[in-house]
C-alpha cells in the first residue's frame, strides 16, 4: 500500500469535519484529535463507572421494593453506559485494561460530581434530577460529535438517561408530599448538590484552555457556559413546581437576556475536587480498585474455562 502524503490526509480529515460528516475508526486523524478523544471518552466512561457508587450505596436501604428495583435498573444502566464508552475508546486504539489501571492509579480523571457523599435518600432523587439533568444537557449535543462511535454511544446513553432524570424528580415529588421532615431532607439535598451540579459543566469559558480546539474539531458543540446556562434555565421552573429553593440569592430572570442570571460557583472548590481533594475521592478510587482486584480471579477463571472448551472442541473435531 502506498503512503498517502500527510497534507492530503489532513485535508481529507478537515474536509470531513467541515462537511459535518463523521470521522470513523480507521480513518486518518491527527494525533492530537485521537488523544483528545481518548482522554474525553475515558474520562466519560470512568464517570459512569464511578457514578454507580454514590447511588449504589442506597440500593439496600431504598424504602420500598419499587424504589429498590428502580435504583437497581439505574445503576445497571450506568454500568452499561461505561461499557459503551470503553468500547468507543477502544476503537481509537485505547486498551480497556489500561484505562481501568489509569483510573485506579489516578492518571485518568472522572467527573468531580461523584466525589460528593450521598447522605440521605433525598440525595438519590436530587442526583437523578440535577446530575442526570446536567448530564443530559452535556450529552445531547454529543450525539452529534464528530467521532462516529462516540456519537453513537451517546445516542444510546441519552435514550436511557431520560428515565434517570424522571425517576429522580418523581422521587422528590413523592417526598415533598410527605412530612415536614421529608421536605426538609429534599431542601437539604438541593442545597448540597446545586453548586457541584453547576460545576459539572467544567470551568468558565475564559478558563477552559482546550475548549476552542475541541469545538473546531466538532468534538464539542457548545461551550461550558452555554450548557451551564441551559441547565439553569431548564431547572428553575422545575424547582418552583417542586416547591424547593435553589440556594443562590443571585438567581433571577433577566428579561433582556431571556435567561436566568446566576452566581458563579466556587471555582477553587472545583479545582480542589478535580485534583483529588474532594470529600470522597479516596473512597471512590479505593472501592473501584477493590472491585477490580477482587474480580481478578473471576476474569482468570472465565478465560481458563474458555481456553479449556476451545481445546476440547478442537480435540472433538480432530477425532
Amino acid at each position: 500500500m502506498q503512503e498517502t502524503p500527510a497534507s492530503m490526509n489532513t485535508s481529507v480529515f478537515e474536509d470531513t469535519i467541515a462537511r459535518d460528516q463523521r470521522i470513523e475508526p480507521r480513518d486518518w486523524m491527527p494525533d492530537a484529535y485521537r488523544a483528545t478523544l481518548v482522554r474525553q471518552i475515558a474520562q466519560h466512561a470512568h464517570s459512569e463507572i464511578i457514578g454507580m457508587q454514590p447511588e449504589g450505596e442506597w440500593i439496600t436501604r431504598a424504602p420500598s421494593l419499587r424504589r429498590k428495583a428502580i435504583l437497581f435498573a439505574k445503576v445497571q444502566d450506568e454500568a452499561g453506559h461505561g461499557l459503551y464508552l470503553y468500547s468507543a475508546a477502544e476503537t481509537l486504539g485505547a486498551d480497556r485494561t489500561d484505562m481501568t489501571e489509569r483510573l485506579i492509579d489516578g492518571r485518568q480523571k472522572y467527573s468531580s460530581i461523584f466525589n460528593y457523599p450521598t447522605r440521605t435518600f433525598a440525595d438519590v432523587g436530587v442526583i437523578g434530577w440535577f446530575v442526570d439533568g446536567a448530564a443530559i444537557c452535556n450529552q445531547v449535543p454529543l450525539c452529534r460529535t464528530s467521532y462516529g462511535p462516540y456519537g453513537r454511544a451517546m445516542v444510546r446513553v441519552c435514550k436511557e438517561e431520560s428515565f434517570h432524570q424522571r425517576q429522580g424528580y418523581e422521587l422528590l415529588l413523592t417526598m415533598m408530599r410527605g412530612t415536614d421532615e421529608q421536605r426538609a431532607m429534599v431542601q437539604d439535598a438541593v442545597d448540597r448538590w446545586w453548586w457541584p451540579s453547576l460545576m459539572m459543566f467544567g470551568p468558565p469559558d475564559d478558563d477552559s484552555p482546550n475548549s476552542a480546539r475541541s469545538m473546531a474539531w466538532g468534538i464539542k458543540r457548545h461551550s461550558n457556559d452555554v450548557l451551564r446556562q441551559r441547565f439553569v434555565d431548564m431547572t428553575v421552573p422545575q424547582a418552583e413546581k417542586l416547591g424547593v429553593t435553589l440556594p443562590d440569592p443571585g438567581l433571577r430572570w433577566n428579561e433582556e437576556r431571556g435567561h436566568h442570571d446566576f452566581s458563579a460557583p466556587d471555582w477553587d472548590e472545583l479545582k480542589r475536587v478535580v485534583s483529588g481533594d474532594g470529600p470522597c475521592n479516596a473512597e471512590r478510587i479505593a472501592r473501584r480498585r477493590a472491585a477490580h482486584e477482587e474480580g481478578a480471579w473471576v476474569r482468570r477463571a472465565a478465560a481458563a474455562h474458555a481456553a479449556k472448551r476451545t481445546a476440547r472442541s478442537r480435540r472433538g473435531a480432530a477425532a
Binding site: W28, Y84, A303, H305
Partner: protein, 98 residues
C-alpha cells in the same frame, strides 16, 4: 483490528435484530471470554429495554473489512454506472405506473 496486548478477553461485535422482519444491525462491541458469555453480555448490555429478538456476537478479529485507504479505487466500479439507477431513463410523464 485493535491491539489486544493487555486485554484478558477478546473483543466481539454485536448485531441485534430489533424485531422479526428486520436485519441484524451492528449496535456496538464488548469483551467476553467466549461465545456464550458474549451472548449473555450482549443481552445485558444492548437489550435491557426489549431492543431485540435475536443477537449475533462475532469475534472482531474474524471480520474481513475493506480498508479506508483504498476507498476510492475499491468502490470506483460503481461510481460511473449511472445507468444502474432508475432516474437515468427518460420516460414521458403521461406513461402510467412506471
Amino acid at each position: 483490528m485493535s491491539p489486544t496486548s493487555k486485554a484478558e478477553w477478546p473483543l466481539y461485535e454485536v448485531f441485534v435484530r430489533g424485531k422479526r422482519g428486520l436485519n441484524h444491525v451492528h449496535v456496538g462491541s464488548l469483551r467476553a471470554a467466549d461465545d456464550d458469555m458474549a451472548l449473555l453480555h450482549a443481552r445485558d448490555l444492548y437489550t435491557r429495554r426489549n431492543e431485540g429478538v435475536s443477537i449475533w456476537a462475532v469475534r472482531s478479529d474474524t471480520i474481513a473489512a475493506s480498508a479506508p485507504d483504498e476507498k476510492d479505487p475499491f468502490f470506483a466500479p460503481s461510481g460511473d454506472k449511472v445507468y444502474r439507477h432508475p432516474t437515468f431513463y427518460d420516460i414521458p410523464d403521461d406513461v402510467p405506473h412506471i
